[in-house]
């Protein structure tokens, strides 16, 4: 499949070269059915200082997940073990991205995914039937339409389960026996209906913690997973770096020929950081908006502003436009949040504008858009 015109190519397509190079040069021991060894998976996600030489080319492995190397290491080891991996945290903390990276690196595909919603049923998780064939020829493996969990077990690859806590509790619990015994029973197929999971099978779940429409996970299910809490980025410099990296990639994929502006990224990162932490860099308390100020959101705001500049402007980031997009991001639930943002501008940004001048002043001047 040609992924060049796709809106969002899967991870394994975007980084095909890196994965191929890593696989070719990988000499460490691999768990059964893994495409890469744990060390190579780690290198893929966390990057390597030295470039790899493969197929006559120099290939740099970029660091794709910034913020917590130890977390990534633990995830890799969990997946090599008998328990599933559950990534939990606030929305916008790159859980899905990490899940895709792990899946692409370990199993070569990130597409074996179940999207959890309130309407998810067991057939969407385990299997369903091609009813025409079922009625014509009776139950057979041919008539069975496998869902991602079945595929994972049959082929020995990872199954991703996004937003697992959005599915109704009864549906979640159907995972329990599969995860303990690693066997799926299809009664209609009689004796042939016992599917034993092949080596390499495991489940990566993600769950948002602070959101509406999220159900509790039963303790029985929790015990089958190792939980990893993905925290929001705590370091402003790191957040700025993440914004720049992500935006650069988006721009490249969509043929936007515009360099990211570091100073604007810094202002945006600082804004998001301070509003999320509730304290300014001078140590003053700030009223935190109730909406989640995630890094993913910051990337969005930046990218939107960039697009406006590229298509409508002269390829220079406009602070007025940035603030307008910021309003759109903040004002999702509560009218109060906009008030808090205004308050933030009138205090912290005003001070910064006065002290630093330049871009910060224009940022402060753009407060007129906070309506």
């Amino acid at each position: 499949m040609d992924y060049k015109t796709e809106l969002k190519p899967p991870v394994e397509a975007r980084y095909r070269e890196e994965l191929e190079a890593l696989q070719a040069l990988d000499t460490d021991r691999k768990p059964l059915n893994w495409k890469l060894s744990p060390k190579a998976v780690r290198t893929f996600i966390l990057g390597s200082r030295e470039p790899l030489f493969w197929n006559g080319r120099e290939i740099r492995i970029r660091k794709k997940y910034l913020g917590n190397d130890a977390l990534v290491e633990r995830c890799i080891i969990t997946l090599a073990g008998s328990r599933g991996l559950m990534l939990v945290g606030e929305p916008g903390t790159a859980k899905t991205m990490l899940s895709e990276l792990l899946s692409a690196a370990i199993s070569g595909t990130s597409m074996n995914t179940i999207q959890g919603t309130a309407g998810t049923t067991e057939d969407m998780i385990k299997y369903s039937w091609n009813y025409a064939l079922l009625l014509a020829k009776g139950p057979s493996r041919e008539a069975l339409v496998p869902s991602p969990l079945y595929v994972g077990m049959e082929q020995g690859i990872l199954t991703r389960f996004e937003e697992i806590t959005r599915t109704p509790a009864e549906i979640q619990d159907s995972l329990i026996s599969v995860l303990s015994d690693k066997v799926l029973n299809v009664p209609e197929l009689g004796e042939e209906g016992l599917l034993f999971a092949k080596a390499g099978f495991n489940v990566i779940g993600t769950a948002n913690t602070r959101d509406k429409g999220v159900n509790e996970m039963s303790s029985a299910l929790k015990r089958r997973f190792n939980f990893e809490t993905v925290m929001p980025v705590r370091d402003v410099t790191l957040e700025k770096q993440i914004i720049l990296n992500e935006v650069e990639e988006l721009a490249r994929e969509n043929q936007i020929e515009m360099e990211p502006d570091e100073d604007v990224a810094e202002i945006l990162a600082s804004t998001y950081h301070e509003l999320r932490e509730g304290v300014s860099s001078m140590g003053h308390r700030i009223d935190r908006p109730s909406v989640v100020m995630s890094t993913a959101e910051a990337v969005s705001v930046y990218y939107q502003t960039m697009l406006t500049a590229y298509y409508y402007g002269d390829s220079r980031m406009d602070m007025g436009c940035l603030v307008q997009n910021l309003v759109g991001a903040v004002q999702k639930e509560n009218g109060d949040d906009l008030e808090k943002l205004r308050g933030y501008f009138e205090t912290v940004i005003r001070d910064k504008g006065g002290k630093e001048g330049g871009l910060w002043s224009s940022y402060y001047a753009a407060r007129k858009y906070l309506r």
Partner: protein
């Protein structure tokens, strides 16, 4: 360590080791660089003492505690202990504020200094503390530097010299570890157990020498470091004239400084001191005092902000216990990890946190997997914490779910307190305190919290105990609340 120092850099780096300080069992003076409270340093020090058979051991410690060495090595004395140094600056020698100064010098079971002293005791050879007396160190240190740093509990150990500089940030980045303590554990504590003593000492000298290179000389002067090294070097030179095999046990950071100040004599055995001799001040001996005291693991834990050496002394104490018991170096850390996972799990179940045996199994296998992934020979305390975080915490990690981890943290800090032998000289207040605790039957050898119910209107003994506890509360020492 090897991968970091390969290629053309090696010849230059070898100059980082001061001449005369290399591990040489045939020399008249053998330098043994240590990090305080480090099990691997104790492990190799024991081997070095066995191989070198010194007839005198010199130890980095203020010399005004010389007379307390027998107390430290007494068979009834149990670590954790500390030497408590005090100086009343009535004459304004240190500063015109004429304040009182104090500092602690902790000794744990796994402290190399204590290991050395015990060997000395067993073999009946002389041991000496060779650092300046406490008040001289104070006099030689700039305000708010080193041992005079304000706002922190003062400990004598100056390990911070080995871990705070730009060099270490880069080192940590390059080797993929999170912080200096992890670097130390991976390359020294764990890896160091499986190399020969001579290789270990060589790597210590390289490492300490490099960290020395990156510390500006002014800092060393202000910290009192240079002054202390001059005095210690003088003592070494003196001892080298009297004894034929002198073992010098000091913090690794100082070994380079000492090597620079001493050279071989042409006119006979021993070393000559080539620096400027230190002139001591004349003071009233009553103003300076030093006492031995029982200490606690909790107080010694660097994580509590007391920067006295290694973090999590409870963990390394267990490692040391296993080394002393003769366990193979490859098994020591895994065995220690099992101990902590099982203990934490058991205590957690006692407090109704849901940690099952299966969680412990998963945690142990995760710890081993992480060690392999990170290129560590055995899993260490970082893998212990990581694996507990993954396996023991069910749900989002927050204050409501971290009970099991806090239990683990307490265990790795350690709850032991030490005991002094009966005839040790104690400050009178402390002696009375211990006597009263004995009379009331209070258990004071653990820092774990205990609850007491007293019927102060029914029993006279309880009334007296209640008064005693209120007295300690008045003193603000945190013994009772």
């Amino acid at each position: 360590m090897e991968q970091l120092l390969c290629g053309q850099e090696i010849p230059e780096i070898e100059n980082v080791i001061a001449p005369g300080t290399e591990y040489d069992l045939t020399g008249g003076v053998l330098y043994f660089p240590v990090r305080h409270h480090s099990p691997v340093c104790s492990f190799h020090l024991q081997k070095a003492i066995k191989a070198y058979r010194p007839d005198c051991i010199l130890i980095e410690g203020p010399e005004n505690a010389q007379h307390l060495i027998p107390v430290l090595t007494h068979e009834e004395t149990q670590p954790p202990l500390a030497l408590y140094y005090a100086y009343q600056d009535k004459t304004g020698l240190i500063s015109e504020k004429k304040e009182d100064y104090k500092c602690y010098y902790p000794f744990l079971d796994c402290s190399p200094e204590l290991t050395a002293l015990k060997e000395v005791d067993r073999k009946g050879i002389p041991a000496r503390f060779i650092d300046l007396p406490y008040m001289e160190i104070l006099a030689g240190t700039a305000r708010n530097k080193g041992i005079r740093k304000e706002g922190e509990k003062q400990t004598y150990n100056d390990d911070y010299l080995l871990s705070r500089s730009r060099y270490f940030e880069l080192l940590c980045e390059r080797t993929g570890v999170r912080e200096f303590e992890e670097f130390w554990e991976k390359y020294f504590e764990i890896q160091g157990l499986s190399v020969d003593t001579s290789v270990f000492v060589h790597q210590m000298l390289l490492y300490c020498g490099l960290s020395r290179l990156y510390t500006p000389r002014e800092e060393l002067a202000e910290d009192g470091c240079l002054l202390r090294e001059r005095y210690m070097a003088e003592q070494i030179a003196g001892a080298s004239g009297e004894y034929s095999r002198v073992l010098v046990v000091t913090g690794g950071f100082h070994t380079w400084g000492l090597g620079q100040l001493l050279e071989k004599r042409e006119d006979g055995p021993g070393l000559r001191f080539k620096g400027t001799p230190v002139r001591l001040h004349k003071i009233d001996p009553a103003l300076q005092s030093v006492y031995p005291m029982a200490y606690s693991m909790e107080a010694a834990d660097a994580l509590n902000g007391y920067a006295s050496g290694m973090q999590s002394p409870g963990f390394y104490h267990q490692v040391w216990k296993r080394l002393e018991a003769g366990l193979e170096p490859e098994e020591v850390y895994e065995d220690t990890l099992l101990h902590f996972l099982a203990s934490a799990g058991k205590q957690a179940r006692g407090k109704e946190e849901s940690v099952s045996a299966y969680d412990e199994i998963c945690a142990f296998s995760m710890a081993k997997g992480l060690a392999a992934l990170r290129g560590k020979k055995s899993p260490g305390i970082y893998e212990l914490r990581d694996s507990a975080l993954s396996s023991f915490v069910k749900g989002e990690y927050s204050i409501s779910t971290d009970g099991a981890l806090r239990i683990l943290a307490e265990l790795t800090t350690g709850t032991q307190t030490g005991k002094l032998c009966a005839d040790a000289m104690r400050p009178p207040l402390l002696a009375d305190f211990e006597k009263q605790c004995g009379q009331f039957g209070l258990k004071i050898h653990s820092t774990a919290e205990q609850q007491l119910t007293l019927e102060i209107f029914a029993k006279e003994k309880h009334l007296r105990l209640s008064r005693f506890l209120y007295q300690t509360k008045f003193l603000g020492c945190g013994f009772a609340r």
